[in-house]
Amino acid sequence: MRKKALLIMALGLILVPFLCSAVYAKTLKIGSMSPLTGSYASDGTDIKNGVLTAVEVFEEAGGMPGYDKIEVFPQDTACDPRQAVAAANKLLNLEVVGVIGAYCSSSTIPSSEVLDEENVPMITPASTHQDVTDRGLPYMFRMCGRDDDQAPASANFMKESLGAKTIFIVDDKTTYSQGLADGVENACKKLGIKILAHEHVNQGDKDFSAILTMAKRDNADVFYMSLQGYSPAAMMTLQAKRLGLKSQIVTQDAVFQPKYVEVAKDAAEGVYLTYGFTDPATPEYKAFEKRYVPKYGKIAAYSTYAYDAATSLLQAIKAAGSTDPAKIKAELMKLDYQGVAKHIKFRANGDSGSSYIAFKVVDGKFVPYWEPVGGLIK
């Protein structure tokens, strides 16, 4: 009898450390979803790094009251809707309080449905398709701009700055790229720019010579290239220049990646892109740059948006003083501050406003070139 009691006590002692860790080391879990493998891995890694930086800064500034540490669970979506849904389910099992992601609109839309059922707030740093926030999900937020703002901005730029009268549009049939290309087509029609053709290629295509020859035959003023990711865009640009296409090339935010210029090199010179405006002179941006660049290298496309998204989420949780989704949402809606990428103020539908301007590739760099209100940027 005494032996048995001792045994139970011993077992109890063994369990003590486990109980302690469960009770005392309280961890706040947040998820990050982005493509970490495949063609969009570079953009996806930027997003993950942005989130990690935000958590680091937040913990240094005092961390989350009531928690010992904040842990980030980065998930790979590979820009594949099925993998994105699986990643969302995995994050739900880990009981995260919020998610930053995903990158491709075609991943964000299905995975947000899963997260929303469990009332987990999701802030996308990069998905620009209008349906991301237009479906009316209560816990869906967006840090970047919308394609139905990007498309008219792009069309206005082509008309006002490039004086375009005709346009040749190509997309690669993803939710994002085709949605944006359709938007550009409509916006151009409204402005009286003639659509010579709207063609589609497939994701994973490498040879664009046939379609580019078609574009060369039609010789439009603008060749609008809506492709998902820098890699096919760089190949298309190289082939276009080699074929002697003379149309001005205009493209969009998914191509806004330093790697685009690295691959396309001289062929990318003079290409125009639309992307959200970020003022690099703000103290917030400079502080971010100082911290991010030594650790992860160049600030590419979406790391700033991911940083702002994660910071907003953490601040809202701190202000709410709980992980109750309704309270977090209420605090998110109250936010009004200057972030790294932009000024953050969420609207009722979860959007935070667009600020699209046109950039031009000059000497291998993206240089701000034109903005909707003031015209050319000197």
Binding site: T37, G38, A41, S42, K173, E199, H200, V201, N202, G204, K206, D207, S209, A210, I211, T213, M214, K216, R217, D218, N219, S231, A234, M235, L238, Q239, K241, R242, L243, G244, K246, K259, E262, V263, A264, K265, D266, A267, E269, G270
Partner: protein, 321 residues
């Protein structure tokens, strides 16, 4: 360098007319078809000799592209690229073809030779496994990102009216033609080629007249992979970068080309490659670029429906390798 992309100023901009459009698309098709033909040859030669569809063949093509990228990057780093571009390119082609030939011989020894007496299904599965192994091996060693080719080579092109033929296309088409002619000479005019054809027809009989079938099989793999490696470098130069998974789609298309031409037949594979490349480009240029692959495979199904052995394929044929 940016200026070299532009057309000469004396050419006035205008739209391409119907004829120019056709010619431009024809040249595009010739370039693509040439690359498919080079890859298709490997499938058809191996099939001719040991009746195996070598699904790892697309990976030899990708490996060739990688070796080329590494060699060219190394030479560019030493600064030889600007002074001796032709020598650099020749070195890259030779090293990459040699590497892939060696790789293919190794793959054959490890994955196919032990299964030669087993059912053909076992060897086929082994080939699929090898393909996955090689492609993931490249991903792990070279990373998931695109490897960039130096694009300074062969910039600009020749203009005939509004038709532009880039120097790169000229290089690819002429080098492909040289390799194809060279292969034809090797197979049909030399003793080694005769031994290869003999092994393809009957391994036992050819062994009786002192032809070592193991050596011939290794040689077939080596030649096929060498041609695929050359195609890999051309691909890298033409599209600007290579990726670990780039072997898959061209591999499938080249396999279709080999079947279309009559698998086992060398001339058939060349013809099949050109047809698949042309159909793809013309379907994209005249019908729909979304469904270009569909048209390429419709042609394949159509031909096989009326002639199941392919265009040039016959059941017993002394041109088989």
């Amino acid at each position: 360098m940016a200026a070299s992309f532009c057309l000469p100023p004396e050419i006035k901009l205008r739209k391409l007319n119907i004829m120019e459009y056709f010619i431009q698309q024809f040249i595009n098709g010739l370039t693509l078809g040439g690359m498919y033909a080079l890859i298709a040859l490997g499938y058809t030669m191996v099939y001719g000799v040991i009746q195996l569809i070598n699904f790892a063949h697309g990976e030899f093509f990708a490996a060739g592209g990688y070796v080329g990228a590494i060699v060219l990057a190394y030479l560019a780093g030493l600064g030889y690229m600007e002074t001796h571009p032709v020598i650099c390119l020749t070195t890259a082609f030779l090293l990459s073809m040699a590497y892939c030939a060696y790789l293919a011989v190794g793959v054959e020894k490890i994955a196919y030779k032990p299964l030669r007496k087993e059912s053909r299904l076992a060897a086929l599965l082994s080939a699929l496994g090898m393909s996955i192994f090689l492609s993931n091996g490249m991903m792990l060693t070279q990373g998931v990102y695109d490897k960039i080719y130096p694009s300074e080579l062969f910039q600009g092109g020749i203009n005939f009216g509004m038709v532009t033929i880039s120097y790169l296309q000229v290089m690819i088409v002429s080098l492909t033609a040289c390799l194809l002619v060279g292969l034809n000479l090797l197979v049909f005019k030399t003793k080694i080629g005769m031994a290869m054809r003999a092994t393809a027809q009957d391994k036992t009989m050819s062994a009786l007249v002192a032809i070592g079938s193991n050596k011939i099989i290794s040689l077939t793999f080596a030649i096929g992979a060498g041609l695929a490696a050359a195609a890999g470098i051309m691909y890298g130069l033409y599209y600007g970068s290579v990726r670990y998974d780039m072997g898959f789609v061209p591999g499938i298309k080249a396999f279709a080309a080999a079947v279309l031409g009559g698998i086992g037949n060398i001339t058939g594979a060349m013809l099949g490659g050109l047809i698949i490349g042309m159909v793809e480009i013309f379907a994209a240029g005249y019908i729909s670029s979304e469904y270009k692959d569909v048209f390429a495979f419709i042609i394949l199904i159509g031909v096989l429906y009326f002639k199941p052995t392919g265009i040039m394929g016959e059941n017993i044929d002394d041109t088989r390798v």
